[in-house]
Amino acid sequence: MKRILITGATSAIAQETARLFAADGAALLLVGRDSDKLAAVADDLRARGAEKVETEIVDLIDLARCSRLIDEAVEKLGGLDALLVAQGTLPDQAECEADPLKTLFEFSLNAMGPITLLLRGAAYFENRRSGCLAVITSIAGVRGRKTNYIYGSAKATVSTFLEGLRGRLCGTGVSVVDIRPGFVDTPMTAHLPKQALFATPESVGARIYRAMIAGDDVVYTPWFWRWIALVLQLIPRRIFVKLSI
């Protein structure tokens, strides 16, 4: 996997994944909003052995811009072998409930942007009959929980989309990887109290790296979230609506 486009490249998990690809000598196009942060990540990856690191400052709320990124990556990297969609925000649920426009904005960042990238990426890879489409979704997409359903439903949208896309690309040699992390200790969750279930970005990043190389389909990380997800799915609806989770 030599040429990789990463959106949301300054996220803690994306950085850890990119470090492992950099050590393999990959060429990377990093997309993010903040130029200082992008530069810091790019320097880090170069010093770790990346053959080439390009950066692009983009606000991923701009869907038209999203739809051009695959072409830009192909041009800058001389082709493309993988896409890792790591953009995302954890919105304040109460604010979203009070403001539908804010909810749509968050939906755009967490679902519409990724879908735009995936459609373009799928077309490119399908044509080449190889490639990897990987997205960081979330365990939160497994059920709609009253405490976090706006974020959760945006992630569920992407997961369902990926499932269909996997069917479409079946047999083409293109892998579709849905990564569903649990709690990860990152700036995005800095305001949350830490408990035993929190994983480090290093371990999650390493899992994503392995999943992309192996072409896994659905990956829970850390592993035990698969079983938590299963339990969540088995809870009858009448009981589920009463739970305060």
Binding site: A23, A40, D44, A47, R48, A140, Y151, F183, T186, M188
Partner: protein, 446 residues
């Protein structure tokens, strides 16, 4: 990420302790810094602040009771790595483990390595750490080419031996009190392979030990010894010396001989430690063994056991590391006698002879002489009394004690060991302080 809005209790403040878990301290707030560019907006209010890396200082030099801790551990990015010349510039929160993972495959190693990989670059500078090659390479600070220091007035200053030289000298060994080190540039050393050819030799007296040191210092890059401190009579132990090897495959890693990782109760009473020490000493079948070993078990045997400090239980432990000049050999013997007759020490006793290479830091601990580091399980007043006695002997012998490992020395002892502390206090950041610093400067006017 699940991201439940959760009850708002404090963010695991209990995780910000020191390695010896004495004293207990509670910071009023922790500011975690993820990006260098965030420092510009860092809000400290009017509280005293202190940088915190991985919390491997043993006592209270990394604690700031009632003040703010600036957690720099997320600052772990490389900035530039010259693969040809072995010059690495990286953010100060990078751990030595992370550094070695990048450097060793390219044939580079730390110029000076402590006994654990779980310290940050910033911490290595701030404590001017030393290692098994002190007699050849001096302290860590000697290999620092430059670093950047963020001060509470918002300034960011690059420091090197030629630029802001006084601040450079004060920050090396400056215990984090001169500001936040944001990045460090160091010169690494080339290695032919990740393996060392190591020899371990029994000694049965301090004279035998000293003879081994002087016979080895010219030809061996790394020397260190383990000492049995629970025995009256002549000091015995195991002397190790090693050099990086040209190649080859190390023998299947056997458990390092030094620590009973899995038998915590051993540490807790003196006959158990005595028995343990006897076993360690005799386990090696011959007087000397020689073998190829990977760098990790050689330099970092204790890293194999995460949270090994927990074997001392909730009450924690004291680590005591002192040095005395070479001409105070008699005092050194007296201190050893005092330790073994007190029967409080544990199995972790490390002896090393420092060379004559001057430390670059104003407050650096290492100077020429003999240094001994050992753990004491916290037995309350009895332990403190013993350590006070040792302080007196060290002071009389013209030696000093390592602040990074201290949780209890008196202001008088500190000020006798480090008379330059007043000069140093001119360079500290006016808003920076630590539990250690307040303790050892109590009642004094700088």
């Amino acid at each position: 990420m699940l991201g439940d809005p959760a009850p708002s209790y404090a963010l695991a403040m209990a995780d910000y302790q020191s390695w010896g878990r004495i004293p207990k301290a509670t910071a009023s707030a922790v500011r975690r810094v993820y990006w260098r560019s965030e420092l510009a907006e860092l809000d400290l209010g009017s509280s005293a602040a202190l940088p915190y890396g991985l919390g491997r200082s043993y006592g209270d030099s990394c604690l700031n009771d009632g003040g703010i801790l600036i957690d720099t551990s997320p600052l772990s990015r490389l900035i530039h790595f010259d693969f040809e010349r072995g010059i690495l510039r990286a953010e100060a929160g990078l751990s030595l483990q992370q550094l070695l993972a990048v450097a060793v495959p390219r044939g580079w190693f730390l110029p000076v390595s402590p006994g654990t990989q779980f310290v940050t670059l910033g911490g290595a500078v701030a404590n001017d750490i030393h290692g098994k090659n002190h007699h050849r390479a001096g302290t860590f600070g000697r290999h620092v080419r430059r670093f950047e220091l963020w001060r509470s007035d918002g300034s960011q200053q690059e420091c090197s031996p030629d630029q802001n030289a006084e601040l450079f000298r004060a920050t090396i060994g400056g215990m984090g009190l001169t500001g936040v080190i944001t990045w460090v540039e160091i010169q690494l050393v080339g290695i032919p392979s990740p393996c060392l050819q190591m020899e371990r030799i029994r000694f049965r007296s301090l004279d035998e030990y000293l003879a081994l040191e002087s016979e080895s210092s010219a030809d061996y890059e790394y020397t260190v010894s383990w000492v049995d401190c629970m025995r009256s009579g002549p000091t015995r132990g195991l002397f190790q010396r090693a050099n990086f090897a040209g190649g080859g495959t190390p023998r299947k890693a056997r458990r390092p001989l030094c620590v009973p990782f899995d038998l915590p109760s051993f540490a807790l009473n003196s006959s158990a430690v005595k028995l343990f020490n006897q076993t360690i000493f005799q386990l090696q079948q011959s007087e000397r063994i020689s073998r190829l070993t990977h760098y990790a078990p050689f330099f970092y045997p204790l890293d194999a056991v995460r949270d090994w400090n927990r074997i001392y239980g909730k009450r924690g432990f004291f680590q005591y590391q002192f040095l005395v000049p070479n001409d105070a050999e008699e005092a050194f013997r007296e201190i050893l006698r005092r330790i073994s007759s007190a029967r409080q020490g544990s199995f972790l006793v490390i002896l090393k002879k420092f060379g004559n290479i001057a430390s670059p830091g104003l407050m650096s601990f290492p100077r020429e002489g003999l240094t001994l580091a050992l753990d004491f399980p916290n037995r309350g007043q009895a332990t403190c009394d013993l350590l006070d006695d040792l302080d007196e002997l060290v002071q009389q012998a013209g030696g000093c004690v390592y602040p990074a490992k201290d949780a209890r020395m008196s202001p008088a002892s500190f000020q006798a060991y480090y008379p330059q502390w007043k000069e140093f206090s001119r360079y500290t950041d006016p808003q920076f302080s630590s539990s250690f610093w307040r303790r050892v400067t109590a009642g004094a006017v700088a």
